[in-house]
Point group: C2
DNA sequence: TATTGTTATACTCTATAACTATA
DNA sequence: TATAGTTATAGAGTATAACAATA
Protein backbone atom coordinates (compact mmCIF):
# COMPACT_ATOMS: atom_id res chain seq x y z
CA UNK A 1 0.00 0.00 0.00
CA UNK A 2 1.32 3.47 -0.84
CA UNK A 3 1.74 6.07 1.85
CA UNK A 4 -1.14 8.52 2.32
CA UNK A 5 -0.51 11.79 0.55
CA UNK A 6 0.52 14.82 2.61
CA UNK A 7 -2.30 17.26 3.32
CA UNK A 8 -0.14 20.38 3.34
CA UNK A 9 2.62 21.25 0.89
CA UNK A 10 5.22 22.30 3.46
CA UNK A 11 4.59 19.77 6.24
CA UNK A 12 4.99 16.60 4.25
CA UNK A 13 5.22 14.24 7.21
CA UNK A 14 4.53 14.48 10.89
CA UNK A 15 7.54 14.65 13.17
CA UNK A 16 7.46 11.77 15.64
CA UNK A 17 10.97 12.42 16.97
CA UNK A 18 10.05 12.44 20.66
CA UNK A 19 7.61 9.56 20.56
CA UNK A 20 9.85 7.43 18.40
CA UNK A 21 12.52 7.34 21.08
CA UNK A 22 10.08 5.59 23.41
CA UNK A 23 9.95 1.84 23.16
CA UNK A 24 6.66 1.93 25.04
CA UNK A 25 5.13 3.91 22.19
CA UNK A 26 6.07 1.27 19.64
CA UNK A 27 4.85 -1.52 21.88
CA UNK A 28 1.51 0.19 22.38
CA UNK A 29 1.05 0.81 18.66
CA UNK A 30 1.89 -2.79 17.81
CA UNK A 31 -0.39 -4.01 20.57
CA UNK A 32 -3.24 -1.88 19.21
CA UNK A 33 -2.74 -3.34 15.74
CA UNK A 34 -2.74 -6.87 17.12
CA UNK A 35 -5.86 -6.21 19.18
CA UNK A 36 -7.95 -4.70 16.41
CA UNK A 37 -6.75 -7.36 14.01
CA UNK A 38 -7.57 -10.07 16.52
CA UNK A 39 -11.02 -8.63 17.14
CA UNK A 40 -11.79 -9.15 13.47
CA UNK A 41 -10.55 -12.71 13.68
CA UNK A 42 -12.81 -13.42 16.65
CA UNK A 43 -15.90 -11.70 15.26
CA UNK A 44 -17.12 -14.71 13.23
CA UNK A 45 -17.15 -16.72 16.45
CA UNK A 46 -19.13 -14.10 18.33
CA UNK A 47 -16.21 -13.62 20.70
CA UNK A 48 -14.33 -10.56 21.85
CA UNK A 49 -10.92 -10.39 23.44
CA UNK A 50 -12.23 -10.80 26.98
CA UNK A 51 -14.71 -13.55 26.26
CA UNK A 52 -12.10 -15.38 24.20
CA UNK A 53 -9.50 -15.15 26.96
CA UNK A 54 -12.02 -16.30 29.55
CA UNK A 55 -13.10 -19.26 27.43
CA UNK A 56 -9.51 -20.31 26.85
CA UNK A 57 -8.64 -20.15 30.53
CA UNK A 58 -11.77 -22.07 31.52
CA UNK A 59 -11.07 -24.84 29.02
CA UNK A 60 -7.44 -25.03 30.13
CA UNK A 61 -8.39 -24.87 33.83
CA UNK A 62 -11.59 -26.86 34.39
CA UNK A 63 -13.35 -26.02 37.63
CA UNK A 64 -11.69 -22.64 37.89
CA UNK A 65 -13.54 -20.19 40.14
CA UNK A 66 -14.61 -16.74 39.10
CA UNK A 67 -12.33 -15.04 41.57
CA UNK A 68 -9.38 -17.03 40.25
CA UNK A 69 -10.30 -16.27 36.67
CA UNK A 70 -10.62 -12.58 37.43
CA UNK A 71 -7.16 -12.60 38.98
CA UNK A 72 -5.74 -14.59 36.08
CA UNK A 73 -7.14 -12.11 33.60
CA UNK A 74 -6.21 -9.04 35.67
CA UNK A 75 -9.85 -8.00 35.59
CA UNK A 76 -11.84 -6.68 38.53
CA UNK A 77 -14.35 -9.21 39.87
CA UNK A 78 -17.44 -7.13 39.02
CA UNK A 79 -16.34 -6.84 35.40
CA UNK A 80 -15.92 -10.57 35.03
CA UNK A 81 -19.59 -11.20 35.76
CA UNK A 82 -20.81 -9.87 32.42
CA UNK A 83 -18.09 -11.79 30.61
CA UNK A 84 -19.17 -15.05 32.22
CA UNK A 85 -22.82 -14.14 31.62
CA UNK A 86 -22.10 -13.79 27.90
CA UNK A 87 -20.44 -17.20 27.71
CA UNK A 88 -23.07 -18.88 29.86
CA UNK A 89 -26.03 -17.46 27.95
CA UNK A 90 -24.61 -19.06 24.80
CA UNK A 91 -24.21 -22.38 26.62
CA UNK A 92 -20.47 -22.32 26.12
CA UNK A 93 -19.73 -22.71 29.83
CA UNK A 94 -21.53 -23.66 33.04
CA UNK A 95 -21.50 -22.17 36.51
CA UNK A 96 -21.42 -25.27 38.72
CA UNK A 97 -22.00 -24.91 42.44
CA UNK A 98 -19.04 -26.05 44.55
CA UNK A 99 -20.37 -28.46 47.21
CA UNK A 100 -17.61 -27.68 49.69
CA UNK A 101 -18.09 -23.92 49.38
CA UNK A 102 -21.58 -22.90 48.39
CA UNK A 103 -20.54 -19.30 47.79
CA UNK A 104 -18.34 -20.21 44.85
CA UNK A 105 -18.93 -21.35 41.30
CA UNK A 106 -16.72 -23.80 39.43
CA UNK A 107 -16.49 -22.82 35.81
CA UNK A 108 -16.53 -25.60 33.21
CA UNK A 109 -16.94 -25.54 29.48
CA UNK A 110 -19.74 -27.35 27.71
CA UNK A 111 -19.28 -29.54 24.66
CA UNK A 112 -20.16 -26.67 22.33
CA UNK A 113 -17.86 -24.43 24.34
CA UNK A 114 -15.04 -26.86 23.75
CA UNK A 115 -15.85 -26.99 20.04
CA UNK A 116 -15.84 -23.21 19.75
CA UNK A 117 -12.57 -23.12 21.68
CA UNK A 118 -10.97 -25.49 19.17
CA UNK A 119 -12.10 -23.44 16.19
CA UNK A 120 -11.32 -20.05 17.73
CA UNK A 121 -7.87 -21.09 18.94
CA UNK A 122 -7.03 -22.41 15.48
CA UNK A 123 -8.17 -19.15 13.91
CA UNK A 124 -6.17 -17.06 16.36
CA UNK A 125 -3.07 -19.15 15.74
CA UNK A 126 -3.48 -18.67 12.00
CA UNK A 127 -3.95 -14.97 12.56
CA UNK A 128 -0.74 -14.78 14.58
CA UNK A 129 1.18 -16.74 12.00
CA UNK A 130 0.16 -14.24 9.35
CA UNK A 131 0.84 -11.15 11.46
CA UNK A 132 4.23 -12.39 12.66
CA UNK A 133 5.36 -13.88 9.37
CA UNK A 134 8.23 -11.40 9.21
CA UNK A 135 9.73 -12.40 12.56
CA UNK A 136 12.12 -15.34 12.72
CA UNK A 137 12.16 -17.75 15.65
CA UNK A 138 15.02 -16.17 17.61
CA UNK A 139 13.40 -12.75 17.31
CA UNK A 140 10.11 -14.13 18.61
CA UNK A 141 11.71 -15.66 21.66
CA UNK A 142 13.70 -12.47 22.27
CA UNK A 143 10.52 -10.39 22.08
CA UNK A 144 8.67 -12.80 24.36
CA UNK A 145 11.44 -12.62 26.95
CA UNK A 146 11.52 -8.84 26.74
CA UNK A 147 7.76 -8.61 27.26
CA UNK A 148 7.92 -10.91 30.27
CA UNK A 149 10.72 -8.87 31.74
CA UNK A 150 8.80 -5.63 31.30
CA UNK A 151 5.80 -7.17 33.01
CA UNK A 152 7.96 -8.37 35.90
CA UNK A 153 9.73 -5.01 36.26
CA UNK A 154 6.50 -3.07 36.14
CA UNK A 155 3.24 -3.89 37.82
CA UNK A 156 4.48 -7.13 39.41
CA UNK A 157 1.38 -8.69 37.90
CA UNK A 158 0.17 -12.24 37.61
CA UNK A 159 1.59 -14.96 35.33
CA UNK B 1 8.22 -9.92 45.47
CA UNK B 2 7.03 -13.45 46.27
CA UNK B 3 4.39 -15.10 44.16
CA UNK B 4 0.81 -14.81 45.38
CA UNK B 5 -0.28 -17.84 47.36
CA UNK B 6 -2.55 -20.35 45.65
CA UNK B 7 -6.19 -20.10 46.63
CA UNK B 8 -6.99 -23.77 46.29
CA UNK B 9 -4.86 -26.69 47.47
CA UNK B 10 -5.10 -28.75 44.30
CA UNK B 11 -4.93 -26.02 41.62
CA UNK B 12 -1.71 -24.33 42.69
CA UNK B 13 -1.23 -22.24 39.55
CA UNK B 14 -3.37 -21.31 36.61
CA UNK B 15 -2.57 -23.03 33.35
CA UNK B 16 -1.75 -20.47 30.68
CA UNK B 17 -0.56 -23.05 28.13
CA UNK B 18 -2.70 -21.83 25.24
CA UNK B 19 -2.27 -18.12 25.84
CA UNK B 20 1.46 -18.41 26.46
CA UNK B 21 2.05 -19.66 22.93
CA UNK B 22 0.71 -16.36 21.59
CA UNK B 23 3.21 -13.56 21.21
CA UNK B 24 0.31 -11.17 20.93
CA UNK B 25 -0.77 -12.09 24.42
CA UNK B 26 2.63 -11.18 25.87
CA UNK B 27 2.76 -7.96 23.91
CA UNK B 28 -0.67 -6.93 25.13
CA UNK B 29 0.19 -7.70 28.75
CA UNK B 30 3.45 -5.78 28.56
CA UNK B 31 1.68 -2.90 26.84
CA UNK B 32 -0.93 -2.82 29.60
CA UNK B 33 1.78 -2.67 32.25
CA UNK B 34 3.54 0.15 30.43
CA UNK B 35 0.29 2.07 30.00
CA UNK B 36 -0.85 1.87 33.60
CA UNK B 37 2.65 2.62 34.78
CA UNK B 38 2.88 5.58 32.44
CA UNK B 39 -0.48 6.89 33.58
CA UNK B 40 0.91 7.13 37.10
CA UNK B 41 3.95 8.96 35.79
CA UNK B 42 1.78 11.49 33.98
CA UNK B 43 -0.72 12.01 36.80
CA UNK B 44 1.38 14.66 38.63
CA UNK B 45 1.34 16.73 35.45
CA UNK B 46 -2.41 16.47 35.03
CA UNK B 47 -1.88 14.60 31.77
CA UNK B 48 -3.24 11.32 30.46
CA UNK B 49 -1.91 9.22 27.63
CA UNK B 50 -3.91 11.01 24.96
CA UNK B 51 -3.33 14.55 26.20
CA UNK B 52 0.36 13.78 26.63
CA UNK B 53 0.67 12.38 23.11
CA UNK B 54 -1.21 15.34 21.67
CA UNK B 55 0.96 17.84 23.52
CA UNK B 56 4.14 16.14 22.34
CA UNK B 57 3.03 16.09 18.73
CA UNK B 58 1.96 19.73 18.83
CA UNK B 59 5.28 20.84 20.31
CA UNK B 60 7.19 18.77 17.77
CA UNK B 61 4.96 19.95 14.90
CA UNK B 62 4.04 23.60 15.40
CA UNK B 63 1.06 24.72 13.40
CA UNK B 64 -0.27 21.20 13.02
CA UNK B 65 -3.97 21.06 12.21
CA UNK B 66 -6.47 19.06 14.17
CA UNK B 67 -7.24 16.75 11.30
CA UNK B 68 -3.54 16.01 10.88
CA UNK B 69 -3.12 15.44 14.59
CA UNK B 70 -6.09 13.10 14.66
CA UNK B 71 -4.58 11.10 11.82
CA UNK B 72 -1.16 11.10 13.49
CA UNK B 73 -2.67 9.76 16.72
CA UNK B 74 -4.98 7.30 14.97
CA UNK B 75 -7.91 8.91 16.76
CA UNK B 76 -11.24 9.80 15.19
CA UNK B 77 -11.67 13.53 14.65
CA UNK B 78 -14.58 13.92 17.06
CA UNK B 79 -12.58 12.33 19.86
CA UNK B 80 -9.69 14.71 19.38
CA UNK B 81 -11.86 17.73 20.17
CA UNK B 82 -12.11 16.99 23.88
CA UNK B 83 -8.38 16.26 24.03
CA UNK B 84 -7.57 19.63 22.50
CA UNK B 85 -10.18 21.27 24.73
CA UNK B 86 -8.43 19.88 27.80
CA UNK B 87 -5.06 21.24 26.71
CA UNK B 88 -6.45 24.59 25.61
CA UNK B 89 -8.45 25.18 28.80
CA UNK B 90 -5.20 24.85 30.74
CA UNK B 91 -3.51 27.32 28.39
CA UNK B 92 -1.01 24.71 27.29
CA UNK B 93 -1.84 25.17 23.60
CA UNK B 94 -3.68 27.60 21.34
CA UNK B 95 -6.09 27.10 18.48
CA UNK B 96 -4.91 29.69 15.95
CA UNK B 97 -7.07 30.46 12.95
CA UNK B 98 -5.37 29.73 9.63
CA UNK B 99 -5.71 32.85 7.45
CA UNK B 100 -5.58 30.92 4.20
CA UNK B 101 -8.27 28.47 5.31
CA UNK B 102 -10.65 29.83 7.87
CA UNK B 103 -12.15 26.42 8.54
CA UNK B 104 -8.93 25.08 10.04
CA UNK B 105 -7.04 25.65 13.26
CA UNK B 106 -3.26 25.65 13.57
CA UNK B 107 -2.25 24.14 16.88
CA UNK B 108 0.64 25.72 18.74
CA UNK B 109 1.90 25.32 22.27
CA UNK B 110 2.12 28.19 24.72
CA UNK B 111 5.12 28.91 26.89
CA UNK B 112 3.65 27.01 29.80
CA UNK B 113 2.75 24.20 27.44
CA UNK B 114 6.34 24.01 26.35
CA UNK B 115 7.49 23.98 29.97
CA UNK B 116 5.10 21.18 30.86
CA UNK B 117 6.27 19.29 27.79
CA UNK B 118 9.88 19.52 28.95
CA UNK B 119 9.05 18.23 32.41
CA UNK B 120 6.65 15.52 31.28
CA UNK B 121 8.97 14.21 28.58
CA UNK B 122 11.81 14.01 31.09
CA UNK B 123 9.59 12.13 33.53
CA UNK B 124 8.43 9.71 30.83
CA UNK B 125 12.01 9.08 29.74
CA UNK B 126 13.00 8.36 33.33
CA UNK B 127 10.01 6.06 33.64
CA UNK B 128 11.06 4.15 30.52
CA UNK B 129 14.63 3.89 31.70
CA UNK B 130 13.44 2.27 34.91
CA UNK B 131 10.96 -0.07 33.26
CA UNK B 132 13.39 -1.18 30.55
CA UNK B 133 16.46 -1.41 32.78
CA UNK B 134 16.67 -5.14 32.14
CA UNK B 135 16.89 -4.81 28.36
CA UNK B 136 20.24 -4.19 26.71
CA UNK B 137 20.62 -1.94 23.68
CA UNK B 138 20.56 -4.66 20.99
CA UNK B 139 17.43 -6.15 22.52
CA UNK B 140 15.71 -2.77 22.50
CA UNK B 141 16.45 -2.17 18.84
CA UNK B 142 15.36 -5.71 18.00
CA UNK B 143 12.07 -5.17 19.84
CA UNK B 144 11.55 -1.80 18.19
CA UNK B 145 12.09 -3.32 14.75
CA UNK B 146 9.73 -6.18 15.55
CA UNK B 147 7.01 -3.77 16.69
CA UNK B 148 7.36 -1.68 13.53
CA UNK B 149 7.15 -4.78 11.40
CA UNK B 150 4.02 -5.96 13.15
CA UNK B 151 2.43 -2.57 12.60
CA UNK B 152 3.34 -2.64 8.92
CA UNK B 153 2.09 -6.20 8.45
CA UNK B 154 -1.18 -5.51 10.23
CA UNK B 155 -3.37 -2.46 9.98
CA UNK B 156 -1.12 -0.60 7.50
CA UNK B 157 -1.39 2.32 9.87
CA UNK B 158 0.33 5.69 9.98
CA UNK B 159 3.97 6.32 10.98
C1' DT C 1 -15.16 -10.92 60.45
C1' DA C 2 -13.80 -12.29 55.69
C1' DT C 3 -14.88 -14.03 51.10
C1' DT C 4 -17.73 -15.17 46.61
C1' DG C 5 -20.38 -13.36 43.52
C1' DT C 6 -23.54 -9.60 42.34
C1' DT C 7 -25.49 -4.90 41.33
C1' DA C 8 -24.97 -0.19 40.50
C1' DT C 9 -22.30 3.44 38.98
C1' DA C 10 -18.84 6.31 36.84
C1' DC C 11 -15.02 7.35 34.03
C1' DT C 12 -12.05 6.70 29.93
C1' DC C 13 -11.46 5.40 25.24
C1' DT C 14 -13.53 4.43 20.91
C1' DA C 15 -16.78 4.78 16.87
C1' DT C 16 -20.53 6.83 13.95
C1' DA C 17 -23.94 10.09 12.28
C1' DA C 18 -25.23 14.67 11.67
C1' DC C 19 -24.53 19.51 12.04
C1' DT C 20 -21.85 24.51 10.96
C1' DA C 21 -18.97 27.15 8.51
C1' DT C 22 -16.08 27.57 5.26
C1' DA C 23 -13.94 26.20 0.67
C1' DT D 1 -19.84 19.22 -3.46
C1' DA D 2 -16.30 18.49 -0.27
C1' DT D 3 -13.54 19.52 3.94
C1' DA D 4 -12.40 21.20 9.10
C1' DG D 5 -14.12 21.22 13.19
C1' DT D 6 -17.99 20.35 16.34
C1' DT D 7 -21.87 18.06 18.86
C1' DA D 8 -24.34 14.19 20.37
C1' DT D 9 -24.52 9.55 21.29
C1' DA D 10 -23.53 4.78 21.96
C1' DG D 11 -20.51 1.07 22.86
C1' DA D 12 -16.56 -1.24 25.10
C1' DG D 13 -13.21 -1.59 28.91
C1' DT D 14 -12.04 -0.39 33.56
C1' DA D 15 -12.53 0.95 38.51
C1' DT D 16 -14.82 1.40 43.18
C1' DA D 17 -18.46 0.98 46.73
C1' DA D 18 -22.01 -1.65 48.66
C1' DC D 19 -24.92 -5.62 49.09
C1' DA D 20 -26.56 -10.88 49.88
C1' DA D 21 -25.23 -15.39 50.85
C1' DT D 22 -21.97 -18.17 52.86
C1' DA D 23 -17.74 -19.34 55.36
Amino acid sequence: MPKPLPQTPEETTTNYATLNTLLGYHIKRASDVIQSDLSETLKPFGLRMLTYTALVLIVDNPGLRQSQLAAAMSVEHPNLVVIIDALESRDLINRDRVPTDRRAYALNCTLSGRRLYDKAVAAVRAHEARLLAGLDAPTRTAVTQAMKLIRATGGAQDT
